[in-house]
């Protein structure tokens, strides 16, 4: 069974609704004679030009700020919401 996902769910924004101004932009696209054929990705990276597949450790200063940015801490643990299986 296909579950319908509304834009508020897709966007994780409560009460989100489609915008009239944005819909007008989409109407312009729909009315063009453009095709829906697959387009060539203009920003593809050559396989010969990939960065090295090695682990690079961040400096301690970077790690400290990442932890400082964490929204909630309790008794030295970083707190996240409980994940509920649906």
């Amino acid at each position: 069974m296909t579950k319908i996902m509304t834009v508020d769910v897709l966007s994780s924004i409560k009460g989100a609704k489609e915008s009239e101004a944005v819909s007008k932009l989409f109407d312009v696209i729909k009315s063009t004679n453009a095709t829906t054929a697959n387009t060539v990705s203009r920003n593809a990276v050559s396989l010969n030009n990939l960065r090295e597949d090695v682990v690079v450790h961040s400096p301690q200063a970077e790690k400290d700020i990442i932890i400082e940015n964490f929204p909630r801490e309790k008794n030295g643990y970083l707190v996240v919401a409980k994940v509920i299986e649906e």
């Binding site: 101004a21 932009l25 970077e62 940015n69 929204p71």
Partner: protein, 465 residues
Amino acid sequence: MSNIRKIHDQLQNKEISCLELIKNKLDLLKSNTHHTVNSLLDETALALAKKVDAKIANGEKIGLLEGIPFGVKDVYMLQGTYTTASSDLLKQYKSSYTATAIQKLLDAGAIPLVKENGDSFGHGSSSENTIFGAVKNAVNPDLVSGGSSGGSAVNVAKEYTVFSIGGDTGGSIRQPAGYNNVYGLKPTYGRISRFGILAYASSTDCVGPIAKSIEDVRIVLNVMSGKDVKDQTTYASKEILEDTILNTDEIKTVGYFKNFIENDAIDAKVKADFLASIEKIKAKGITVKELDFFESDTLVSTYYTLAMAETASNLSRLDGTNYGARIEGDNLKDTYSITRSENFSEETKRRIVGGNQVLSQGFSDEIYLKGLNLRDQISENFEKDFKEVDIILSPVTPNNPPKIGDSLKDPLAMYLSDAYTVGFSLGQLPTLTVPQGTATGLQITAAKNNDELVLKFANFLKDTL
């Protein structure tokens, strides 16, 4: 005259001290009423200035950018500084690392003074969509500064910074540069690394300088350019030499889009001034060709469709889990949605929702894939044009800057005001705003990777208009 060279000489000749220079600029930024500042980097700036002074006192030569104060749009990572994207969500977020482009400027000795105000996450064309107050135009404070890099353009125009680093996705450097009468360059996509910029629409996001002279744009562009393993869309580019861009002989043919000029949306004075500029260019012996291009509403719709799709994807990571202003809900999903609902602005939410619409099943074929196809057609059109002309010239905006408050009332009108800038973004072309020709300037565009030619033509216009 290059402000960078002038200040460099003054520092090296001990006519001014770096500390004095930095203190003066910080005071100007602190007391300014244009809302350009999100945070000041005074402590680090003063410490760096002392180091430059010590070096000079020691009889050492300093580099061209050493001690030069600059501004950074508040979407760039600069380790240890707040990087808010002018949003509630990231109001307390600190950069843990530094963007490649900014690091290159730090390595050259330039001193960052300020994280600059602009539209939240780059979402806007007026710098009113911000939690730090609408940025006021440098020339007339009743008008908008333009956006999204409004704070950066105003800081340069008022000389609070010598240059500033903006970000341009659909015109966000060029349009505020035009509204505040300064130079603003969107380089060829990939010339400067995007690593460390808060992503808006990754396929058109560009890092670029805003400055008061062509020479300053050239100096800063050269320093920031280059291949970066952390952004695999970057490419290696050659340094642009000062002498090369002073020789403007090779430009023989200039084109302009007929439909940009011959329509009802353009202000009569902007149109007349643009056509007068074309006549002056012709008088110098350059051939001018009228070119056909896509209608403004097609350009704007294509750009916004793709940009919204990309921003919906890029901003999906902002859910308050690892960073940002988390608001706890009853469960994980509730926490995500309350955090995002309360902390994103109306404009950002409008773009995220629009993006998710076009990417969802049933819409993606009809809108998103068609948008991608239109983008290819636009790029092909540019390729064809640049076989016929060396440069494409266009106004930056169809109209003068609106009054503060007017843009927020009508989002569609705001989107349509980007009609002249978004096409060049979709083409990933190098485009420079020069503060000449019309009240909001002119845009000079060349073929991909030909940023040098853009600067050359800017020098030609400086002497011609």
